[in-house]
């Protein structure tokens, strides 16, 4: 058990370091001189040179990378080219909005997707199953920025029921709930669909297994068999999907934030890309990817508690 946990944590560290390398290197080789951007328009050659010196841009690639890593360890993400403020602070202001949206979408995916998958499996090849599997197919195929725009049109413009954008409160407060509902629906369709599909096939696998037949032949009631015996085992593949889906939701949140004008890290990132604000691009990509790696680590660890077989592999 301890060996497994250590191995996972070590692997995570390797992934984080590899990821920082890609993030750093990709913007290192990007065209454009950061010193010129920082110095601003109308800066003299000497000004630019001074900025270059102060940013350490004259050092070799590896020296710069090591300095970057050292700074990261001290949680120093650098300063934004445009606002000259520390990036960490700017991210911390926006991160709650993004997490609020992603969590709302995750909860929605779990409460809709998993039951839909189970029902679909129990009613295999019946009308309900066909409707749900078709729905899931549409769900994975619908572009979420388009769905978001359509939802705004129907619920905010035509019916005037819900706000068309913005996010100022957490989703469990009444105002926050109203603000979160449309973006969360737009964001979660693909995860709802994948939970339905995976839940369905996991449940079908389990229902065909010997121990379910044994449980049934012992005379146990159908609902007991399903809720106690089958569901527990069908949850295992869904758990892995939970980790992957969190990444999908974080990635999707970047786009959904744009559609619903939410001031989260996605909006921050896209704005930074447009303005060639490299340190901000680096840091936001880094934060999103790190969160994704961490969630996957947690899923792996929970996995090993839920499914003890994995420890022996």
């Amino acid at each position: 058990m301890r060996k497994y946990v250590l191995k996972r944590i070590l692997m995570m560290l390797v992934l984080v370091i590899g990821m920082t390398f890609i993030v750093f290197a990709s913007l290192y080789i990007a065209p454009g001189d950061p010193a010129e951007l920082v110095a601003g328009v109308g800066a003299t050659e000497e000004d630019i040179e001074r900025v270059r010196e102060s940013l350490g841009l004259n050092e070799s690639f590896f020296t710069q990378y090591i300095t970057y890593l050292k700074k990261l360890l001290k949680l120093d993400l650098g300063t934004s080219f445009t606002t000259k403020q520390p990036i960490l602070g700017e991210i911390l202001v926006r991160l709650p909005n993004t997490l609020n949206l992603a969590c709302a979408a995750m909860i929605l995916s779990i409460i809709v997707g998993i039951p839909a998958g189970i029902i679909s499996a129990l009613k295999k090849d019946k009308l309900v199953d066909n409707v749900l599997t078709t729905g899931a197919m549409v769900g994975i195929s619908i572009p979420n920025f388009w769905l978001g725009t359509m939802l705004i049109y129907v619920f905010a413009v035509v019916l005037k029921l819900l706000p068309s954008g913005g996010m100022t409160h957490f989703f469990w407060t009444p105002t926050g709930f109203q603000q979160a509902i449309l973006p969360a629906v737009a964001l979660s369709t693909s995860t709802i669909a994948s939970f339905t599909r995976i839940g369905r096939s996991a449940m079908l696998d389990v229902l065909q297994s010997d121990y379910i037949r044994t449980a049934k032949s012992k005379g146990l009631k159908g609902t007991t068999v399903i809720l106690i015996h089958a569901l527990r085992n069908a949850m295992i593949p869904l758990l892995t999907q939970l980790g992957t889906s969190f990444g999908v939701l974080l990635g999707g949140a970047i786009i959904t934030e744009q559609v619903f004008v939410i001031n989260g890290i996605g909006t921050y990132l896209i704005d930074a890309i447009r303005k060639y604000n490299y340190p901000v691009v680096q840091s936001t990509v880094l934060i999103i990817a790190t969160m994704f790696i961490l969630v996957n680590l947690i899923v792996d660890l929970v996995y090993c508690v839920v499914d003890p077989r994995i420890k022996y592999e």
Binding site: V14, L15, V16, G18, M19, I22, V23, S26, L27, I29, A30, P31, M137, V138, I140, S141, I142, P143, F145, W146, L147, T149, M150, I152, Y153, V157, S194, R197, I198, S201, F246, G247, V248, L250, G251, G252, I254, I255, Q258, L269, I270, A272, I273, R274, Y278, V281, V285, I288, A289, F292, I293
Partner: protein, 305 residues
């Protein structure tokens, strides 16, 4: 010796595919769509940049026709159907149907090229990683690192690095597809390597290159076809998403995602401008996904989620 003719497995799979009604429907929808976008210059009634300021934001065939308007009397000219523009016109008075066709050209081309590029690199990586033990770790760890960027984030990083252009978006999407191909192909190679016939071929003196490129690759083909079909769907969603965000195809070149972004401002007057390109993306993506699903069931059921 009797000459035993071996059936081509891909051809058999295709015949099976056409027995499924849903898959056949999707296949023909895509076929028609592909032909339409290829022949867009012939089919499209107008050019994608052709503007007519006199007929801005007009409805399509569902609008009020000229003669009806005359009979009804005072009708808002904005509600009158502009003859010849079956899907209406946009804010510059450009024909939406023509733009849809030209936009589809870009979407499908980007989808196809980026899938093909991702496929080529991914398959090579997967073959090498699966076949040579000493390459397995280095290649697959790089793939793992690429997988740590969720969703479209990696594509955005690449675009931040090289700047906004259609080509860069295509490159970004193809790099993003590499790990999916590499992982699946590697898994398949690991299984195939242990098969008796591969051992037999080797004992006959076949070189590694021959075994890999002829025998193993041929048997990986079903897996590759399935993943490529599904990646087409993802790539098309990705290019329209990137264009929507202003990081993909740049105006005035039409692209479905870009058309939706431009239409957002005119949501009040002409919601169909948002609706039409979105439906086009969705139908295309659904067709590729359904085809991918059915192909998987036929060619490689082990890929089931």
């Amino acid at each position: 010796m009797e000459n035993v003719k071996r059936k081509n497995p891909i051809k058999t799979a295709f015949q099976k595919l056409l027995k499924n009604k849903m898959a056949t429907l999707c296949f023909f929808i895509l076929l028609v769509e592909i032909l339409m976008v290829i022949f867009a210059p012939v089919i499209a009634p107008y050019g994608y940049e052709e503007q007519d300021p006199a007929i801005r934001l007009r409805p399509g065939f569902w609008g009020i026709h000229e003669e009806e308007a005359l009979a009804m009397g005072g009708v808002n000219p904005q509600d009158i159907y502009a003859e010849g523009h079956i899907l209406g016109t946009d804010n510059y008075g450009r024909d939406i149907f023509s733009r849809l066709l030209y936009g589809g050209r870009i979407s499908l081309m980007v989808g196809f090229v980026s899938t093909a590029m991702g496929l080529a690199v991914g398959v090579i990586c997967g073959l090498l990683a699966g076949y040579y033990k000493q390459l397995d770790n280095p290649i697959m760890r790089v793939m793992d690192i690429l997988f740590t960027f969720p969703g479209i984030l990696l594509a955005m990083l690449i675009i931040a690095m090289f700047g906004v252009s259609t080509f860069n978006a295509m490159l970004a999407i193809s790099i993003w597809s590499i790990p999916s191909f590499a992982r699946m192909v590697r898994g398949r190679v690991l299984q195939l390597k242990e098969e008796d016939y591969i051992m037999a071929t080797r004992s006959l003196g076949a070189t590694d290159a021959r075994i890999l490129l002829i025998h193993i690759l041929k048997n990986c083909l079903p897996t590759i076809i399935v993943i490529a079909t599904m990646r087409m769907a993802t790539s098309i969603i990705s290019i329209s998403t990137l264009s929507y965000l202003g990081m993909g195809v740049t105006p005035p070149m039409p692209e479905w995602g870009g058309m939706i972004a431009a239409a957002k401002e005119y949501m009040w007057q002409r919601p169909s401008m948002i609706f039409i390109p979105g439906i086009a993306v969705m139908i295309t993506v659904i067709c590729f996904n359904i085809l991918g699903d059915k192909l998987r069931d036929i060619l490689d059921p082990s890929l089931r989620d």
